[in-house]
């Protein structure tokens, strides 16, 4: 629960089913295997581990996919060092999915389970895609149901449920022989125990030597969010690609955000290089406060820095090298890929309590993190 990745479950399950095949409409996804090593290092948190994805067509119209993923976490984040003790833990997740192609329709089913010492998540998902108008248009409808069980590592009797439902509509459209776009709308509803059972909020307390004390955070038991995202990818005259992205997000906790990104892909012989810049800006949740005026000051209260107003920026560099392009035994081709994302998050209300300053006047916290991925891919 305390890891970076407790709810990858729903994301992973759905992504397995919604792989975009570019302009290759009306076909099953390619048979491939990916072996990934991932590392997140920043803000006192280090998370690394492997991810294995395998996809294979097993009949004329059926493709199966499986994913196994591990997070190994070592955390001494700003929250942890100010209110708790550093910890280590491990999370394991597996996903299974199936795609069935009939004429221009692809139907997909999936299941994902994630377990760690104090958090268990199960997700079921389905989607249906229809290619239309000479395969220029692909319409996708998706639904996912997630059930989480939240526990506490220091209290075996603590158990809370959370149910999440996802509704998605996606439209991919070929506009010209050089331009493809996709528009996605997603609504997600949560109901249950949504806050972290370990995290606290702080409130002003003149009786404390620090000038403040802590109490458990308390979130609303429901949340509904809406997001609409648009992506466009353009083929440049000299064989390179340019992509632009934009997303607008809003939810019932009063978080509203704008996210934009631009990326450039440049192939060179067997190499492919990518550079990407991403910018995200959001308002904070209505119940977020870095310092409450007194205990139980409001009905709901949170000090999760991700619920603070913030601006994040990411610069990505990626390189991919293709080998065995002429095939070897049953393998058609392979590639080795490396990427690093340099992430900076500037929080506009969440303060750094490790700084020596008057209560409520500490500097705002800034997070710098490196996200590294190294993976091999094989097509067969």
């Amino acid at each position: 629960m305390r890891t970076l990745t407790p709810r990858l479950t729903l994301l992973a399950g759905c992504l397995l089913l919604t792989v975009n095949h570019g302009a290759l409409a009306g076909v099953l996804p390619e048979d491939r295997t990916d072996i990934l090593y991932h590392l997140y290092d920043g803000g006192g948190v280090e998370i690394d581990g492997p991810s294995l994805l395998m996809r294979k067509q097993v009949a004329k119209n059926v493709s199966l996919v499986g994913n196994y993923y591990i997070d190994m976490v070592s955390s001494a984040s700003i929250d942890v060092i100010t209110t708790a003790s550093p910890y280590s833990e491990e999370r394991k997740q597996y996903s299974l999915g199936m795609d069935y192609l009939h004429a221009n329709t692809t139907m997909s089913l999936g299941f994902t389970n994630s377990t760690e010492s104090d958090f268990d998540a199960t997700t079921y998902n389905l989607s249906i895609s229809q290619d239309m108008f000479g395969d220029l248009t692909t319409l996708t409808l998706s639904y996912a149901l997630g059930d989480d069980v939240v526990g506490r590592s220091d209290d075996e009797t603590f158990s809370r449920d959370n149910t999440r439902q996802h509704y998605g509509v996606g439209l991919t459209q070929i506009l010209t022989r050089n331009l493809i776009t996709t528009l996605n709308f997603e609504t997600i509803t949560d109901e249950g125990f949504l806050n972290n059972p370990y995290r606290s909020v702080r409130y002003a307390d003149s009786g404390s030597p620090l000038g403040y004390s802590y109490e458990p955070e308390l979130y609303p038991h429901t949340r509904t969010s809406n997001a609409v995202g648009l992506r466009a990818r353009y083929y440049l005259p000299y064989r390179a690609a340019l992509q632009g992205e934009y997303r607008f997000f809003t939810d019932t906790w009063d978080i509203e955000s704008h996210t934009a990104a631009i990326s450039y892909v440049h192939p060179m012989d067997d190499w492919t290089f990518t550079i990407k810049y991403r910018w995200h800006d959001q308002t904070g949740a209505h119940f977020f406060s870095d310092l409450f005026s007194r205990p139980e000051a409001t009905n709901f209260r949170g000090r999760d820095k991700e619920l603070s107003p913030l601006t994040s920026q990411t610069l990505k560099f990626a390189a991919s090298y293709e080998f065995m392009s002429d095939g070897w035994r049953f393998i058609d081709k392979g590639s080795v890929n490396f990427s690093i994302d340099l992430l900076t998050v500037d929080y506009h209300e969440f303060r750094d309590l490790t700084a020596d300053a008057l209560v409520g006047e500490e500097p705002f916290y800034t997070l710098d993190a490196d996200v590294v991925q190294l993976f091999f891919s094989f097509w067969y």
Partner: protein, 78 residues
């Protein structure tokens, strides 16, 4: 604007609503003209195992979720 252009602009909305008021629509990008779109550099999500991971990093570090072609859940994590 001619009828063909109107249909092209309205096509996504017609597709979404399941309604076609333009009659039979001829694909304006023929199959033999899609070689560039079939190039792997044009895939919107060429590496699903990688994009799933990086999307989750963003969802764990920001308050927003979804809208990027795959569903996601927010989390209150340290």
């Amino acid at each position: 604007m001619n009828t063909r252009l109107v249909c092209r602009l309205l096509l996504p909305f017609l597709a979404a609503s399941g309604v076609s008021a333009c009659g039979r629509i001829e694909p304006w990008v023929k199959p033999y003209e899609r070689d560039r779109l079939a190039d792997p550099i044009m895939f919107l999500d060429g590496d699903p195992v990688s994009s799933a991971y990086i999307q989750h990093v963003y969802e764990a570090r920001e308050g927003a979720r979804g809208g990027e072609g795959a569903a996601g859940g927010g989390c209150g994590c340290n």
